[in-house]
Structure formats: C-alpha cells, structure tokens
Symmetry: C2
Subunit: 132 residues, 2 copies
DNA sequence: TAGTATGGGACCAATTTAGTCCCATACATT
DNA sequence: AATGTATGGGACTAAATTGGTCCCATACTA
C-alpha cells in the first residue's frame, strides 16, 4: 500500500492544526479530534517536527502548531516525512534493489508512474484541502 | 509499496513468455531466466492461470504459455491477478475502512490518484513493453 | 517547585510479504 | 500400461513492515 495508516494519521493531524489560524493544540486534543491513538500520534508529531512541518511549545499550555503556512505544506511533504521517498515499487526508488537492473523493460514505467504521483501529491497542499 | 515483489515476478514471467511467439516454457526455465525462486514462481503461475492470463500443458514436455495475445494483457491485469484491487491506500479501495469516512478531506485525492494510476497501468500492455 | 507538556528510544504485537514443502494429479513418451 | 516429468494446490514457516505501547528524561510556565 502506497499510503500507510501512519501517513494518513499525519495528514489528518496537520489538517487539524490548519483548521484554525495559529492554533496550538496538545497531543490529547488532536488525538481525540482525529481519532488517532495518542502515543502513536506523539511519535508521528516528532517526525513532523524534524522535517520542519510542525513546531512545538513545551511546558504547561504547550502543544503543537504548524511551522509553515498551509499553502507551503503538500501531501508529498508529509508522506516524505513519515515514509521517506514515496515509492510505487522498491526498484523505482533505488534501482540497486532490482537484480535485473537495466535489462528490465518495466522499470521505466514504474519510475514514470512514481514521478506522476509525486508531482500530483506536491500540488495538493494543505490550504487547498482545508478549503473544501 | 504499491507493487510487491510477487507482482514484479509475475510481470517478468509474463514478459518472458511473450518474448517469443507461442513459447512454451516450464517453471525451471522461467525461474532461471528471470531469477525467480522456483517454487514461488510455481504459485504465481497458478494465480495467473486462474485469471486466464497464462495456460498450462501438463505432463512431459509440458509448461506454460500465454493464454491471450500480448496486446490484451496489461500491467493492471497482472497486478489485479496477484494483489487484487491496486490500492494507493486502504481507504481508496474500500471506504468502509476509513473511520472518518465522508468527513475526510483527503479521501477524494486518494481515490483520484488511484484512478489515474490504474488507467495508466491499463494502457501499459505486454506487447508495448516487449517492443522496447 | 510542582505539574503538565513534549522528546525520544526501547520494546512488542499484528499483519503482510516472501518463500518452502509436500503430495496429488495429469499426461506424453516409451 | 508403466514411468518419469510436469503442473495443481494447500499447509506451513520465516522475515520484514506496520502499527502501536511504555517508560523515563527534559523542558517550560504558572
């Protein structure tokens, strides 16, 4: 499956943080609203932080907020933060993994589809999704 | 990953059977030529048979051959035979699996990407790939 | 300084993917 | 008809990935 549940959770989480301007929400709040297991969400949030998608405020009344404008966050950014390079297929990401390497007639197709999907995911930004 | 190794093997296998007109090849031959574990390939071939993509000849000098013209076999056919409906995401295949169901802003995007990929895979037929 | 929040690694369970093994069945050749 | 070689197909196992929990350290603020 190209999109794992973890990525799905990450998208929903970002979407929640975007639904109100400058919102700061803690793990409990997001987990409840978006129906995501709390501790799992905490881990997801840390990955989003490392990629500069969300920021955190520690201590009492702390929480998480978007680190960038919704228009500057794409589905591809989120997928990359959670799953790494979004592959259609192992060999489309790293051709070393394919034992037939260059002699494989299908390889170019996988690579091409991957590119198409990626460019589509890059166009789908959070602000577009929010305003539905 | 959208395309599993098993599907990859299946594609290579069909491609092998298509490289020469009316070729009949046994498991050992295909496995060796395409570097696929023999017993694993045998199982894959059986699935391809049930979907009417390849046919078999039993007994001595038996083997497998294409059951349809290369132009009538698409990558989507092969994927569907091995993996079932090709999902980008569980919720794009069966919306019941998504707890947020209709309230999910991203859902339409997954469904749409899935459709794009499927139509692309349908266009890529074996005869096109063979003639590279 | 007490309390509430994130930071982050270790750990575990479930599912999927990948692959093997064994035996039944079919059939062409001799 | 016997025999050897091939597919048919289910049971089983191993490895990898996914999904998730737990625990404790650290940070910050009221």
């Amino acid at each position: 499956m190209l999109v794992t549940r973890e990525t799905d959770y990450a998208v929903r989480c970002v979407l929640y943080l975007a639904h109100e301007k400058d919102l700061v929400a803690n793990v409990t709040e997001i987990a409840h609203a978006m129906r995501i297991p709390k501790t799992f969400l905490a881990k997801i949030l840390q990955r989003l932080i490392r990629k500069g998608i969300v920021g955190s405020l520690r201590g009492m009344n702390g929480g998480f907020r978007l680190a960038r404008k919704p228009a500057d966050i794409s589905l591809l950014d989120i997928m990359a933060a959670i799953q790494g390079p979004a592959g259609i297929n192992a060999c489309a990401v790293d051709s070393k993994k394919c034992p037939m390497s260059s002699s494989c007639a299908v390889h170019p197709v996988w690579v091409d589809i991957r590119r198409e999907v990626e460019s589509r995911l890059k166009k789908e930004t959070i602000d577009k999704l929010r305003g539905r």
